[in-house]
Structures are given as structure tokens and as C-alpha cells.
């Protein structure tokens, strides 16, 4: 077992990618590892002709994935848009892994992301010593992706300042990166494209300029449709987490996951699952990703401090942490939910007690 905390998608699922590539007979776009159909299969899972099972990476609408892959096959860039925790980055990582076999060319968008980190920077020691030359240039992931004909990923595009965002326009429309200092340019090889992710909650912070917006096809990733879908997502992700973290605890009980998902869904939608009681919604997002981390957290607690089986007490702290983001408002919402909904459920007594003890 190696010491790496988290493997890249193309490393974790190397076998699947290899199998897919072996049976792939169709026409591949230039510099793509797989055909578009196989990329979709890699994302949504399925059985190959030789009986090999491909695990689903994205659980939800296949049509959305088809739009995303078809977009990348044309020369438009892809913008994945959605609430926090709706698997945007996850999808983007797997898309890059399946298409280019490399998901590492990533730029994290922040308010401080500068033009140098998107286009290119300079190694000043070299610059002073040798003067401007290709050697003194610091390549960015975007530049490398262009040269290699691979997919570059930009996370949280809308967090980046508008002026910096717009430096992408030339790259996306002309597919070239001019370097005026050296009077040269880097032209993108076939297969280059950009996947950006952006957050609903950040809407209006740094709205994309319409010129840039036009270069992207937008795919909105929704929150899971049904309870069962959400449970499935949480269960799969938690199991894969166990694999990487090698926790000694037992497999998570489906019952506990169901309860977590129920709590999250109810608070997120502001109504109980049976649709009978209205609830207040807290300010926190309560995404599926957070449900996953709550279960993971509970597993770790159970493994190291508990009896090894996941129970309500192990989960309680995580749930409260996820729900109560604002110490005043959210706390009231949570207490109300606890007293009016959790308390009345006959088989939820342990959850109620565990949560109340902590509160």
C-alpha cells in the first residue's frame, strides 16, 4: 500500500480505462483515448461485450453526460454548473481522465488567480540571467494541455476576477496562446479543450462576460432526483473512500445512510419526505457530497473510537456540523427539526438522543 492519500481518477480506474480502450472499435476523435460512446459508458457505467463491469462514476441522467461528451467532441468548451456538491469537479476529473488519460492539468480558480497562472509566468532568476527565452517561461496547465492536445480543467471559474477570466477568450476561440515577449505563440494541438466548473451560489460574483459565455456550452448538474439515487451515490462514494483510507470499520449500514440522506433531503427541500410537514431550511447547502463526508466521518469515528459499527452517535456530530453553519439561525432550524420531526419518528429514537446529547 503506497502512501498517497488520494489517487487520480486515471490511476484508480486504470483497469476500466484499459478494458474500455481494448474493446473500443469506433472512430476516436483526434488525441482522444476513447470513443465518445466509451467515455459515456465510463461515466455512467455498464457491461462491456467481454463481460467486464464498468462502475458508474456519475449516477444520474445519462443524457447530461452525453451532452457533456458531445460538447467536448465539438470544439466548444464545457461549463459544468450547479450547486456545491453536485459532483461537478468529480465529473470534470473523470471526463479528463477518460478523454486524455490525464486529469492533472487543473487550475483552481480563486479571487487571487492571476493571468500568469492561466497563460504563462516567468522564472525571474532565469529571466535575469538569460533574458527572455522559452527556458525562462513557466508553463501553466492550460499551456501544457494545449501543447499535448489534452483537457485542461478550471475549477470555480466564476471565482476568478472578470479581467483574468477574459484571457481565456483567445485560447478558446483562436485556440492559440500568443507570447508577445518572445514574438511567438503556442498553438493548441487537436484534442485540447477546457472543462470549467462554476457554482450556482456564486452567481453574480464574477459573472462571465457574454463573449466568454458564448465559448462555453453549459450543462447544469442537478441535485439527485430521488431518495434512492442519492443513497446509491453516498453508498458508492463511501465504499470507495474506505478503500483508499483502509478503515477497519464494517461496511456502512444502509439504514444509517438512508437516515442521513433523509435528514439532508428534508432540510434541503424544506418539507418532510411524506410531503406533510413544512420545515425551515438552514443556510447550508446540504449537498450529496456533504452527506458523503458525514458518513465517512462517522465511519472514522466508529473505527477509531467506537465499536467498529457505524451507529447514530457516530453520525450525530457530523450531521450537526453539516447543518449548523450559522451558529444562531441554523441552530434554531436544527432544533426545530429535531423536536418536531426526528423525535416523532418511532425508530429514530437513537438519532434523537445522540443529537440532543451533543446540542
Amino acid at each position: 500500500m503506497s502512501d498517497i492519500l488520494r489517487y487520480h481518477a486515471e490511476q484508480l480506474f486504470a483497469e476500466e480505462l484499459e478494458e474500455l480502450r481494448k474493446q473500443d472499435t469506433g472512430k476516436r476523435p483526434h488525441n482522444w483515448l476513447l470513443t465518445p460512446q466509451s467515455v459515456v459508458t465510463y461515466l455512467v457505467g455498464g457491461k462491456l461485450k467481454n463481460g467486464f463491469d464498468v462502475t458508474p462514476k456519475y449516477i444520474g441522467s445519462k443524457r447530461l453526460m452525453e451532452i457533456a461528451v458531445a460538447t467536448l467532441a465539438t470544439d466548444r468548451a464545457l461549463l459544468l454548473y450547479g450547486l456545491p456538491g453536485t459532483a461537478k469537479s468529480w465529473v470534470s476529473e473523470h471526463l479528463a481522465a477518460a478523454i486524455s488519460g490525464d486529469s492533472t492539468m487543473i487550475i483552481q480558480g480563486t479571487a487571487g488567480t492571476s493571468e500568469e497562472s492561466i497563460r504563462y509566468g516567468w522564472n525571474y532568476a532565469r529571466l535575469l540571467a538569460e533574458g527572455p527565452s522559452r527556458n525562462a517561461l513557466v508553463e501553466t496547465p492550460v499551456m501544457r494541455a494545449m501543447q499535448d492536445g489534452k483537457i485542461a480543467r478550471i475549477e470555480e471559474l466564476t471565482r476568478i476576477g472578470a479581467d483574468v477570466q477574459d484571457s481565456l477568450i483567445t485560447i478558446l476561440s483562436e485556440k492559440t496562446l500568443p507570447i508577445p515577449e518572445l514574438n511567438t505563440e503556442v498553438q493548441a494541438n487537436k484534442g485540447f479543450n477546457v472543462i470549467a466548473t462554476a457554482n450556482n451560489r456564486d452567481k453574480g460574483v464574477n459573472e462571465l462576460s457574454s463573449a466568454l459565455k458564448r465559448r462555453f456550452n453549459t450543462v447544469i448538474l442537478p441535485v439527485p432526483d430521488s431518495m434512492e439515487e442519492e443513497i446509491d451515490i453516498v453508498r458508492r462514494r463511501v465504499e470507495s473512500f474506505e478503500k483508499t483510507m483502509d478503515l477497519p470499520a464494517e461496511k456502512p449500514a444502509l439504514e444509517e445512510i438512508r437516515r442521513i440522506v433523509t435528514i439532508f433531503r428534508e432540510l434541503r427541500n424544506g418539507v418532510t419526505l411524506d410531503g406533510k410537514t413544512k420545515l425551515k431550511s438552514p443556510g447550508s447547502t446540504l449537498s450529496t457530497a456533504e452527506a458523503i463526508s458525514v458518513v465517512n466521518n462517522g465511519l472514522a469515528l466508529a473505527a477509531y473510537f467506537g465499536d467498529g459499527t457505524l451507529n447514530a452517535a457516530d453520525l450525530a456530530a457530523g450531521v450537526i456540523g453539516a447543518v449548523v453553519k450559522d451558529p444562531v439561525q441554523d441552530k434554531l432550524v436544527w432544533q426545530e427539526y429535531l423536536e418536531t420531526v426526528v423525535k416523532t419518528r418511532e425508530d429514530w429514537k437513537d438519532v434523537y438522543r445522540a443529537c440532543r446529547d451533543l446540542a
Binding site: 443524457r63 452525453e66 451532452i67 458531445a70 459565455k213 458564448r214 456550452n217 447544469i220
Partner: protein, 791 residues
């Protein structure tokens, strides 16, 4: 001699194209089309300039017009193309489905049986047992209705509509979906579209369809469906008849599902036995205009199509590689002020094609186009997609029918009026503002009002903006189902005026309540039916005389007053109405004081509303004698200790508003009502009546304010808590600024804080006079020269 079976999907553009191509190649001498034979004569109208799809054949049972059904056709319906072909090439065309005479006959028989069973059940008081029977019967009917891909759409048949909810009909899977599943599609419709409707090469497509259906019919367990069997037997009978008549090339156009049943003919005798002794009913048919929205699934039509507009597009532009469609979308977006560039369109087309390639379709379907639109043009926001749905995918429009087509007399009359008044039938709503001072507009209004009386709800009247009683705002939207209403109302007369008159008069004689008759009068006056108005007024008078219920009388006064006041604009004689109003108000004034005593609080509240309307009506009439007697009545009610306190309070208030009760008597009445001897609840409720609607009175009148103030302050703690809800109810109805001011006033304290103008009396008149000329001069009232002279 050859028989060619062309299995189609109703309203499939690809099917229509295939049928057209096939017929042109085959050159048949007769076409047989799935449809009711009663409408055979109507086929000759196909190809007429004014018969423009979407249209429908309407068939109904003359002695029971509610029993009716439609057979709609669009340009892209294969049946329509077959009709056009027959017309153009002057060959025979016949409809060959089971005659509706028998269908209706069977249904009537079943309904009669069910009714008999129901009666029997009541007699035996054993409902459970019979219900089961009844249910089976209806299930059978239902089954027939949902038969695979039938074109028949049933008009609103009340009994059937109910059935749909009661009977848990086992949902049968669309047989096509089995084929689709085998081909790896998740939806039967989509499979069919890509296999047959989007297809460019038509070779042997009908053989393929027939084989597919043959396989399905063999593999799937077939529900035992009597009506399906009858229909197919009748179709075979028609084909045999055509063969007997020595037609050489017979083309048969029918739903794909029936294909194999017509191909493999059983013995003639079997069919004849099956069709023997079927019950019959009378059936009449005509063409009526249809709409695309009625053709779509949304309106609950069995063989509907989800996207008529899209189908029309691929019918008209079969080779469109989605560029033309995207251009339409872009145009629509630009009309909505959405910036859409040519580059957007290009990108969307490319994405749609990439998606189609990814899904291994030969060309993008509507789903791919929609997804591309959503992703490229809408930035993922689905709001605008609804616009595309309405404007392009459904693209609501209405067909046209030549007026020479024989139609029931009432329908022809309506069509003539529509033409004369230039009020065309439209699929989407259209607004008209009518100026009743103009001849044409007045006639339009009369026509529309008459249709309203006939309960044909083509137009809805809307609130007019601006002042004036000579304007009317109408919103018109035609629904093909009005044809049924028209046929049904046809039994009342052959023209609109005649039918409306006899219908309203008949209804008036059958309704007992004054209110309903008054409402009818209200709507009859703008319809200008003098005979009807006379009858209605007579009827109202009779009802009012016998009615002991003063509340009912009060309810009808406001609308009647409206009529008498505003009827004149329409040149109607309002005198007649005035007569009955006077007698009714007299009756009310006499019995109202008694009706205001000993009633519960809820009843008092309801009465209060009537008082309000009544008072307004009287104010509107401006009839001195009536006003006088109304005020007298109010005084009696206000002075009567037995009157419900809320009513008494309100009567006092109305008298105050009318400036009859002022000053000292008002204060007296007020203080009597608020005196400590009264139970607090009574006082509070009186106050509620008095302050109904506005608290300004309290703000302005210091003495009243003082009385309320001291009354509230002397209340004991627990009594205060008792009356608090009542007071709260009163005050919460006031406007926010009023409440704010009242609050401020309470904060200031009691009544003693008011500012009073105090005259001290010690004015020196002489000194005052000296100043007057200067003031006059400053005001420019006096000539300065005069002033100088005086000085």
C-alpha cells in the same frame, strides 16, 4: 388485382411522405382509409382551397349531440395525404372503419344495461355486487377506447370521464415499446420516430412495418377486445367489397397495428357472422376546424403527438439538417430580446449533430435539438425552453373549413356572423376592445353576449381599463369542442338570437331562485333580446312577490340597479326594471328591521355585506323617495335595542355617512351603545359595525374618540381580554396609515390633548379696522388712488 396494406402511424410525417410516394408509384384506382364510413361524402371536400388542416371530421348522434367524436387530420397525416391524392387523381376514396352507427349503438346498449343494473341495485339494496358488474361493463368500454393507436377522440362525455377515474384499468404497454426495447431504445415513440418518421429512404418500409407488427401480434398476448375484432372484421369486409367491384390496385391506409389483420384474411363467413345484428344509432358528420394544441398529448387525445409544430417542420423540410430549425429558434429568441448570434446557431447545430452521432442516430431528433438549444442558446436555463415548446414545438394554429360544407343550421349562422363581424376563429387568444358607440362593435358585443347566454364560452369578458361604460374588453379563443356545444344548442333554434331566446326562457322557467334569474336578466340585456327581457322581468316580479326571504331580495338589488342605471347606454328600455326595483326596495324596507333582530354573529356579518351593497345601490339610484324610506329603515334598525349590535352599529354609521345623524344625537346613540351597562362583547360588536371599513372617523371626531378612549380604559382586565379579539378584528381592517395614526393618538393620551381654537373675546375692533385698508392694498383689492383719497 392487388391489395396493398400501408401500415402507418397517425399524424406521422414520415409515414405521410411514404404513403404519398407509394401511392404515386402504385397509381391505385381506389384508396381505403381508416375512418368512419359515414363521413365518406365529406372526402370530396379534400383539396378545396378553404379546407386547410388542421381540420377534423366531427361525427355526432343527432338525437344526443353530447355523444360525438372527432377524427383530426393535419397536413402531415398520412390519411390526409391519401385523401388529397385520391382527389387529385380523381379516384375513389372510402373510409373503412367500423361505422360509428354501430359504435354508438354498442355504447348506448352498454350504457342502458349499466343503468338498468344500477336501478336494480337500488331496488335490492345490494350495491357491492352490482358495482362489480357495472365496473366490468365500463372496463370493456374503456378497453375499446384505449385500443391500440385508435384515431378516435371522444368528445367530453361526462359519464366516460368519470369512469376513467373509477376503473383501475391495467396499464397495457404500448406494443411498439417491445420492439424499441429490443433495438436498445428506452422509448417506443423515439424508436418509431428514428426508424420510420425521420427516414429518408422509403424502400420497402411498409413491408418492414407489416412484418414488425405481425411479429408483435404473434408474440404478445392479445387482450380479448370485442370492438377491436369488430373493427378489423369491418375493414376486411370493405376490402372484399372493393375487390368484388373489380378495382385493380387497392391501397389500404390503416394504423400499423391493424396491418397484419388485414393482410391475412380469414373466411368471409366468420367476419359476416361477427358483424351480424349490431345495434345502430343515427350519425351525422361534418368538417370542423381543429387546432394543434388539441392534437398534442397535453389535451389528452389518445393518438396524439407530442410535437405537431416539429412534425409540420419535418414534413415541410424533410432534408433539414437541423439548421433551419435552429434558425427558427434563434429568430424566436431574438423576438424576445435574447441576444442570439449566428455563431450560436452554428454551435447548436454542431452540438445537436454531435449528440446524434454519439447516440448513433442518422440525424438529430427533437431531443437532440432541444438539448443543444438548452446548452448553447439558453446557458442551461430551462425557462426559455417553455417558449420554444409553445411557439415552435406545438406551434398552435387553427385550420379552416369552407362555409359551403353542410353544417347544422346554428353552426352556419354562427359562421356567418363571425364572417360579417370579422371575428375569426383563432387558436391563440386575441383581445378585442369594443366601443359600444360604434355600430359594428355594438353588434359584435351583442353577438358575443348571445353566445354567452348559449353557454358557448368562446369569449371571456375582462375588466376594462379606463373610465366609461361604453367600452368592453373581450378575449376570444376558439376551442374545437365548441362545435359540440353548438350542435347541442342547435335544438333550441336555427339562429343565434332564436336559440339564445328560447334557451334562456326555458332555463328561467326551470330555475327557482331569484338570484339566478336576475343574473340571467343581467346577461340578457346586453344580448339585446327584448322578448327574453320581458319574460325575465315578469318572472322576477313573480318570484319577488312570493319570496319571503329578504336576504335574497337584497342580493339581487345591486345587479338590478346596475341594469337600470347602465342599461340606457345600450339603448335598452330600463323603465321596466325600474318598476320592479321600486317594489322590491319597498318590500325590503318593510321586512328588514325584523330580519335584523335575533341573529347570530355569523349571520350578522353576512347581512352587513348586503347592507353595504344595498346602500351603494340606493346611492346610485338617486331616487329621493327610495332614499328616504331606506334611511327611515336604517333609523328604525339603529334605534331598536333588539337589533343585532353589529347591524345597529353599521346602520348608525350609514346614517352618519348620509349626514342624517350628526352632532348631539349621534353622540347620544354612541354613548348609549358604549355605556357600561351593556355587556362588553355587545359594545365591542356595535363598535365593529360602526367602524366598519374606516377608522378615520375616530381620528377626526374628538368626542367620539374620547368616548371610545374612556370606554376602553374603564374595562376590567379580564373583560378587556374577552373583548380584545373583537376589537382587534375591527381595527385590523383599517389601512396601515390609519392604524399608525390611531396608535400615535393613543400614545398622546386621552381626549384632552386635542388642540382647540380658543376665542378670548377681548378684541379691540377699532384698532383692527385701521389695518384693513393696508391688507386690502396688499391683496390688490383696492385701487391705491382711492386709498390715497380716503387718507
Amino acid at each position: 388485382m392487388s391489395v396493398h396494406i400501408l401500415g402507418i402511424r397517425h399524424h406521422g410525417p414520415g409515414s405521410a411522405r411514404n404513403v404519398k410516394a407509394f401511392l404515386e408509384e402504385l397509381q391505385p384506382d381506389i384508396v381505403l382509409i381508416e375512418g368512419p364510413p359515414e363521413a365518406d361524402t365529406l372526402l370530396s371536400w379534400a383539396g378545396h382551397d378553404d379546407l386547410q388542416p388542421p381540420v377534423a371530421i366531427l361525427a355526432w348522434q343527432p338525437d344526443n349531440p353530447r355523444k360525438a367524436c372527432f377524427y383530426p387530420f393535419a397536413t402531415f397525416s398520412p390519411e390526409w395525404q391519401a385523401m388529397l391524392y385520391a382527389k387529385e387523381h380523381r379516384i375513389h376514396a372510402r373510409l373503412m372503419d367500423l361505422p360509428l352507427a354501430h359504435v354508438f349503438g354498442l355504447e348506448n346498449e352498454a350504457a342502458a344495461k349499466a343503468a338498468a343494473a344500477n336501478e336494480g341495485a337500488e331496488g335490492k339494496n345490494n350495491t357491492d355486487d352490482i358495482k362489480g358488474d357495472n365496473g366490468d361493463e365500463k372496463a370493456l368500454l374503456n378497453n375499446a377506447r384505449q385500443s391500440a393507436r385508435g384515431t378516435r377522440q371522444h368528445a367530453r362525455q361526462d359519464n366516460i370521464a368519470e369512469d376513467d377515474e373509477i376503473i383501475p384499468f391495467p396499464v397495457r404497454r404500448d406494443p411498439i415499446s417491445h420492439l424499441a426495447a429490443a433495438a436498445g431504445y428506452d422509448d417506443g415513440e423515439r424508436w418509431w420516430e428514428h426508424m420510420f418518421e425521420y427516414r429518408q429512404q422509403q424502400e420497402q418500409v411498409f413491408e418492414a412495418v407489416n412484418d414488425a407488427m405481425q411479429a408483435l401480434r404473434e408474440e404478445l398476448p392479445q387482450p380479448d377486445n370485442q370492438q377491436e375484432r369488430l373493427r378489423e372484421a369491418w375493414m376486411r369486409k370493405c376490402i372484399r367489397a372493393a375487390e368484388k367491384e373489380m378495382f385493380q390496385r387497392i391501397a389500404v391506409i390503416c394504423g400499423a397495428w391493424h396491418g397484419p389483420a388485414l393482410q391475412n384474411m380469414p373466411k368471409q363467413k366468420e367476419d359476416n357472422d361477427l358483424l351480424k345484428g349490431l345495434p345502430k344509432a343515427k350519425v351525422a358528420t361534418t368538417w370542423i376546424p381543429w387546432t394543434y394544441s388539441r392534437l398534442s398529448y397535453e389535451s389528452g387525445y389518445g393518438a396524439g403527438i407530442p410535437s405537431p409544430g416539429w412534425y409540420e417542420h419535418i414534413w415541410e423540410h424533410p432534408t433539414d439538417d437541423s439548421t433551419r430549425w435552429m434558425a427558427l429558434v434563434a429568430k424566436l429568441f431574438r423576438e424576445q430580446q435574447q441576444d442570439t448570434s449566428v455563431a450560436h446557431v452554428m454551435e447548436a447545430v454542431r452540438l445537436a449533430n454531435a449528440l446524434a452521432a454519439l447516440r448513433q442516430y442518422s440525424r438529430p431528433g427533437l431531443e437532440e435539438l432541444n438539448e443543444a438549444t438548452l446548452s448553447v442558446l439558453c446557458n442551461g436555463e430551462s425557462v426559455l425552453m417553455q417558449l420554444i415548446r409553445d411557439q415552435l414545438i406545438i406551434r398552435n394554429r387553427i385550420g379552416k373549413v369552407p362555409h359551403e360544407v353542410p353544417a347544422p343550421p346554428l353552426q352556419s349562422d354562427i359562421a356567418q356572423w363571425q364572417k360579417k363581424l370579422r371575428l375569426p376563429q383563432t387558436a391563440d387568444f386575441k383581445d378585442y376592445q369594443l366601443d359600444l358607440r360604434k355600430e359594428n362593435d355594438l353588434e359584435r358585443s351583442i353577438f358575443l353576449h348571445r353566445l354567452q347566454l348559449l353557454e358557448i364560452r368562446w369569449g371571456t369578458m375582462q375588466e376594462v381599463t379606463g373610465k366609461g361604460t361604453f367600452k368592453e374588453q373581450w378575449r376570444l379563443q376558439w376551442d374545437p369542442s365548441y362545435s359540440i356545444d353548438i350542435i347541442e344548442k342547435g335544438s333550441w333554434g336555427n339562429t343565434v338570437a332564436e336559440a339564445a331566446s328560447s334557451y334562456v326562457i326555458d332555463t328561467a322557467h326551470h330555475t327557482g331562485t331569484l338570484q339566478q334569474v336576475c343574473q340571467m336578466l343581467e346577461s340578457a340585456i346586453p344580448a339585446e333580446l327584448p322578448a327574453v327581457v320581458d319574460v325575465l322581468i315578469h318572472r322576477i316580479n313573480n318570484l319577488a312577490a312570493t319570496s319571503g326571504d329578504v336576504l335574497q331580495l337584497m342580493q339581487v338589488i345591486p345587479p338590478l340597479v346596475n341594469i337600470s342605471k347602465f342599461g340606457n347606454v345600450r339603448k335598452t328600455d330600463a323603465e321596466l326594471v325600474n318598476g320592479i326595483i321600486e317594489s322590491m326596495i319597498d318590500r325590503i324596507c318593510i321586512s328588514l328591521p325584523a330580519a335584523s333582530t335575533s341573529i347570530t354573529e355569523d349571520a350578522a356579518l353576512a347581512l352587513l355585506e348586503l347592507f353595504y351593497g344595498m346602500n351603494d345601490a340606493i346611492g346610485l339610484l338617486q331616487h329621493a323617495a327610495l332614499t328616504g324610506s331606506w334611511h327611515h329603515t336604517l333609523q328604525v334598525i339603529a334605534g331598536n335595542r333588539q337589533s343585532a349590535p353589529m347591524i345597529a352599529g353599521y346602520a348608525t354609521r350609514l346614517l352618519f355617512d348620509a349626514r342624517i345623524l350628526r352632532g348631539e344625537p349621534l353622540l347620544q346613540g354612541f354613548s348609549v351603545a358604549m355605556s357600561v351597562a351593556n355587556p362588553p362583547a355587545v359594545a365591542a360588536s356595535w363598535l365593529e359595525g360602526f367602524l366598519k371599513g374606516s377608522g378615520t372617523l375616530l381620528l377626526l371626531d374628538e368626542s367620539l374618540w374620547g368616548m371610545v378612549y374612556s370606554w376602553v380604559s374603564q374595562l376590567e382586565n379580564d373583560i378587556f381580554i374577552q373583548v380584545l379579539p373583537l376589537l382587534r378584528r375591527t381595527f385590523s381592517n383599517f389601512t396601515a396609515p390609519e392604524r399608525k395614526k390611531l396608535g400615535a393618538k393613543v400614545k398622546q393620551g386621552g381626549s384632552d390633548t386635542s388642540v382647540k381654537i380658543v376665542a378670548t373675546g377681548d378684541t379691540d375692533a377699532a384698532r383692527g379696522e385701521q389695518g384693513i385698508p393696508v391688507v386690502m392694498q396688499m391683496l390688490g383689492l383696492v385701487d391705491s388712488k382711492l386709498l390715497a383719497d380716503g387718507a
